[in-house]
Symmetry: D2
Subunit: 284 residues, 4 copies
């Protein structure tokens, strides 16, 4: 099961492909060289595809625009499913009024802006408006002062019993070839421990991400889970989540999981991809 | 938001009701007194209902039969969604051949029996057949020798890299008014820590349980999430899971959460039900 | 065992008293009113006393000076045992050369300054000196830029295999009557999880704090553990640590544990003080 | 620092050697071949040595007897420090009366038998005597019925607020070349999670083990921490605990840590031994 196979051979029997973004389609340098051929191949064979990404820093429109700037026009806004969209759906369904406080950039706040709700950076919560705060959302690790605003967040959650949403569950993300950044998921976990409350987390490996994508797919085409394959570089998020949701899975060795350590990590974690490919780039 | 309301008033605007079983419809003594009136009320008003339960010890047919024996005929097999059904779906989608080893009773094993797979208690795994074991499932805390078979399970997982499914994520369950039993979820967590692998868990609060029920509902009726309310006695499973999936939620005080501690627990956990009712029994 | 008793009656049979600092002798407003009488009482009866505190933000000399400024001259430098002193002992015994990088204020860095070692804020670690860094110490939550320097710390620990010491294990500390601050222990735990390494932690409830104080006591007087009582306001650190080390313990209700919740917290945590007093102030 | 060295060269400058037992002096087959030479060497050079072991299954006298039966007479009862001895000291200092309930064999119960206390297997706790139970001790994974007695333990701890001691913190231990057994530390952790209480744990890497040995050493000889080296096969217990206590440490590759993985494990855990030797057997 675990020897490397050609991506085009592995992907051939499936009607729909879910792709992780970072480490699969792009890295810190830009697009993975040759990955545009993969999308030509998928379009020629009329296979559907979606990007399923733990990202709440930018809207799907902004994320799509980035791909277009890098020369990959196949990835359109309607094909991007981000964990930020689940945070937005939660607010739509469960939070009707008041102030939604957030940690993140102004770009990330677009996810949570909707009629009837006021969005406010945590830095702007004060004694006058704290009683109107009806939810808190962790969106991005940038756009705020860590020391001041994380302490403020702890005290906000000690004073107010409100739902707290984490729109990106990742612990860290790559910044360049050798360095990582602390992601907002780690900051949220630290605060969750201090205040002793239970936050609502959206993002792979949680099934709700895959369900969101699956429902979108079924609106377009009459497929079932057997027709879909999830492609990712991370065992703990992409492969575990895809497996649990009942999808076949492809581990690619172009990102978080190096080819030298793939076998060891699979056997030590017990997270088993259906296939392993060196990358998501077709070789034809 | 958090003062107690009448169940019939709260439930009135919804088209579909999801019920937890233990602590809501029944307890260790049998049915909650008067709960049959609730189902008469729901049927008169043509509201749909489903039982969403972390139970892999018996099949839906067996669970329904139990309700019928206690005098509640409204709960039929097709209205019961159990975490065991998700384990079965996982095997359908992801495990095609070989031996599925399990911990649990013979009754619980019915969940995992299907054409093409051999089901085998962990006690019967041996040097001759261990190489054919393709999955392991934790089903129930009964039906096996804890000391012998849990040790055997640890060594099976050290020798074989196979998916491991936990079909009931609860830590403990009530045995009588003052005592609890260790549930299979706790045994699984202990072994997961020892072997350092990541198991696949099905059961509330995980969204996949709610999704399974939601898909069943939508096949029958054209409702959306706004039309459904989840009723449960446990903040951490029923209410957290319902909230996260985007449903309104009713905490009932007839089981795990006592009326004296409800407010404290809600503010200390940050898990906030939409409504609180003393029980799921209507008062009319 | 658990009804409130007078501090002077409880403390009478012991020859040595260990005091926690915050919530026992002082709070955010200053000294606990009347606490100077307690020290007069102890000195009259020739009882020894020590302050045992999870604090690495200031040296014992600086901490003693603060008590003197508040009007409590009995607490001298040689009677203060801080978690920072254990960090210093670790470096004395185990780190012989190179750069000790730290997170904290210049005041806190005094703990780790010693002949043969260069101390350097994490912010000043760079490509030229990173190979000489031989240890990292978390000292205080102030004195550095959280976003920049915590990210830098993560990458330092990914590049270098060095011992990492946490000189204060507390998660949070009180800032005023209603607000807390994130302590350096929480920041350290977040980074430990991200890098997957195991840090060396000093501070109550760890026995090493109590051992350090105990050795100091025995150099002065011929007492044994039966002669010592630990006084603290926090079950999880002062009482658990004192109990485990074999000391009798007094929970005081003037800080973290409120009188309304003491019984509930004791039974829910299973951490049982030998005595409970309303405060460490004698009533005579 | 991390290349393999000869044991006799490394150990030469130290006056006292602390040895872990399993994986260092013996394994499932018996004594490590040649290890008796090591003790001749130590005695010739008048170096002191102690065995520091996470074992509460047998008394030091019984453990010493086992070594004698295998042909190693140098290891006498007074040179063995076991985690069970710390449990006994705790009872001496902190529990004056009543029933001490335990999980373990009759052999392991010898640790906790002392004048004034009644020791009773958990299986014999009943409605008549439960109110007299003053402490619970986890001693060994054998000697009781896991299913019946672990469930009984959970309910004992829900009904009674008593100190709970774990006399061996190991998760698992080797049974033969390829298989392990679940140790009592894992069973205790499972129950601690279910009941939500905090247990008192004795055993490496906790400093209290090392302190106990250190005090014994200083009664005999005038050494300090710089004169002692800890020898062990497990990074997480022997090496981490020795380092934290301020001792130099030798990782031997004859047990839990294989030579092929030593470097990887050291850099991934950040637990760094002072030296690495292939075994504790001298080559002369």
């Amino acid at each position: 099961m675990n020897s490397t196979q050609l991506f085009e051979e592995v992907v051939d029997p499936y009607k729909v492909v879910f792709f992780d973004a970072f480490g699969v389609l792009k890295n810190y340098k830009g697009l993975m060289p040759g990955v545009e051929k993969t999308f030509e191949y998928l379009e020629q064979r009329q296979k559907e595809f979606f990007i399923v990404t733990n990202d709440a820093s930018r809207s799907p429109a902004q994320l799509a625009e980035k791909y277009h700037q890098m020369g990959l026009s196949a990835i359109t806004e309607d094909r991007i499913i981000s964990s930020g969209m689940l945070a937005r759906e939660y607010l739509d369904l469960k939070v009707n009024e008041g102030i939604v406080a957030f940690l993140g950039t102004a770009d990330s706040a677009h996810y949570i802006e909707r009629p009837g709700l006021i969005t406010l950076p945590v830095s702007e919560v004060n004694d006058d408006n704290i009683s109107e705060v009806s939810a808190l959302v962790f969106l991005d690790d940038e756009g705020f002062d860590w020391s001041g605003d994380l302490n403020k967040t702890v005290n906000l959650l000690r004073k107010r019993t409100i739902p707290t949403i984490v729109a990106n569950t990742d612990d860290a993300y790559p910044m360049n070839a050798s360095e990582v950044c602390i992601a907002v998921g780690s900051l949220a976990t630290m605060i969750e421990t201090i205040v002793g409350k239970e936050f609502i987390r959206f993002g792979k490996p949680d099934s709700q991400m895959f369900m969101f994508a699956y429902e979108l797919v079924r609106e377009r085409t009459g497929v079932n889970k057997k027709d879909i394959v999830m492609v990712g570089d991370t065992l703990h998020t992409d492969i575990l989540g895809g497996n649990k949701f009942g999808l076949d899975t492809i581990l690619v060795l172009s990102g978080n999981t190096l080819s030298t350590e793939a076998e060891t990590r699979i056997s030590s974690t017990g997270i088993i991809p259906t296939y392993i490919c060196s990358s998501a780039v077709i070789q034809q």
